[in-house]
């Protein structure tokens, strides 16, 4: 998947959160971890299983499609260094590996969102950082 075209240098909001698309027609992927004992998956990746409380996790590349569990939007300037567009959508998405990820949504109009709808991962340019790089985050988009 290609991020919205841009000449700027694109930088992920954090290394190790997601992989960039491997090539044309490929998707970005969220990078998590999974417990070898109980099978619980985590995002972002963790060294420990919060369920078993043991160091039993291995890396897992998470599925790109999931179901929307809950959703809202942000209509107001927020602290923490975010300088991107407002409003934007936020939701929790259940991925096939059993992770419930809190994420941005590409759709902020909540009348177009509903519990259980299918959503897919996309990358989203957010804003330019102090070094002039374009920060890229992840979001989920309703599947039409």
């Amino acid at each position: 998947m290609s991020v919205v075209p841009s000449r700027k240098n694109q930088v992920p909001v954090q290394e190790g959160l997601f992989s960039m698309p491997a090539g044309p027609g490929e998707s970005a992927r969220l990078l998590g971890s999974r417990c070898k004992v109980c099978g619980e998956a985590f995002f972002p990746a963790q060294a420990m299983c919060a369920n078993c409380c043991t160091e039993t996790t291995e890396p897992v590349v998470l599925g790109t499609r999931g179901k929307l569990f809950s959703y809202t939007n942000v209509n107001h300037a927020v602290p923490g260094g975010y300088k991107g567009k407002i409003p934007f959508g936020v939701g929790t998405v259940d991925l096939p590996e059993g992770v419930r990820v809190t994420t941005r949504l590409t759709e902020h109009d909540t009348s177009k969102l509903r519990k259980g709808m299918e959503v897919e991962l996309v990358l989203e340019p957010l804003f330019e950082d102090e070094q002039g790089n374009e920060l890229v985050g992840f979001a989920f988009k309703p599947v039409r």
């Binding site: 909001v13 919060a50 809202t72 985050g137």
Partner: protein, 383 residues
Amino acid sequence: MRDVAIIGVGIHPFGRFAGKEFTEIGQVAVLDALRDAGIPWKEVQAAFCGNMTSGTAAGHRVLARVGMTGIPIVNVENACASGGSALRLATQAVATGLYDVALAFGVEKMPRGFMAMTSYDRWQMLQGMAINPIGMALNTRWHMDTYGTTAIQLAKVSVKSHKNGALNPNAMYRKALSLEEIMNSPMVCDPLRLLMLCAPDEGAAAAIVTTGENARKYTSQPVFVAAAQLGSPLYGTTFGTIAVGGSSGSARMSAPEVSVVTAQKAYEQAGLGPQDLGCVELQDTESGSEIIYYEQLGLCGPGEGGRLLDEGATEINGRIPVNTSGGLIAKGEPVGASSLGQVHELVLQLRGQAGQRQVAGARVGLSHTVGAGGNCSVIILKR
């Protein structure tokens, strides 16, 4: 374990006080509690201070303005549950015989605007996701989807809070609001509107505890700490994603929520149940939370929170009055102090000193706070 009773409570009103240092705000509440208990400062043997934003040695700086007597002072930072955590430590210290008289107080002078929470990871901040109303809106939307809770019910919570707050001289907002005013206020995080949210503010509250036996020397109306519990989230709750910044939740598990577990432990410790409660102060960070916590604290069954509200059961003259003080929605939230602000209200109610907000015949009260990190405090008081 010895019985523990509150012999004095104090408060500095919640609101905005430009130019007033947190040290002065805290001092007012502590002196108020000492006066209420009729006890000299030199008899207090240990102190526990709840605070989130005032920097290092917050409690020491406040108490240097009360008297430097050399006592151990512990500053507790447990987000919204800071004050409850401080009272629990003070209670345990007296119950186990470490001390005979201890002070718990909370003080805060919150920066203006949305809380710039530090409990999120950097990537969450850069994605614009580091504000508390997001988590609460997600919870509330889930509740609406699952149980049919309505936006009107959310607004009604806020109507009740402001009606009660208008009767509370210690509240920040002391004016009743109509349903229309609330429904017409700007949307912050759908379905939560501005007038459904509590605002960060400034204030302090304090309580002095001693043994039940000792309490009679100071007051004819001791209020006993029947339970003081503190919990953190279990892995695998529905809302697990939100409580601890940066970690995902589980779509496969359904562990009980931290408020459910902590309240159950408190009911067990007290040998009491929800049916015994005469007044409740709970964490109404916003309207949705109030309805959800009705259920999680066992005031009604799952999904029945909206109806409990509609029936008027949680009004001051209802079957189980909730947030008679106006709650955080009307009082604002000075984080380190909010839990002890609840305790202040409950003690007034149990003593019959709550004036126009007085509920009839309350013998047992419950204080509930939950916040960043999934910190949850539940305290049960009885007269």
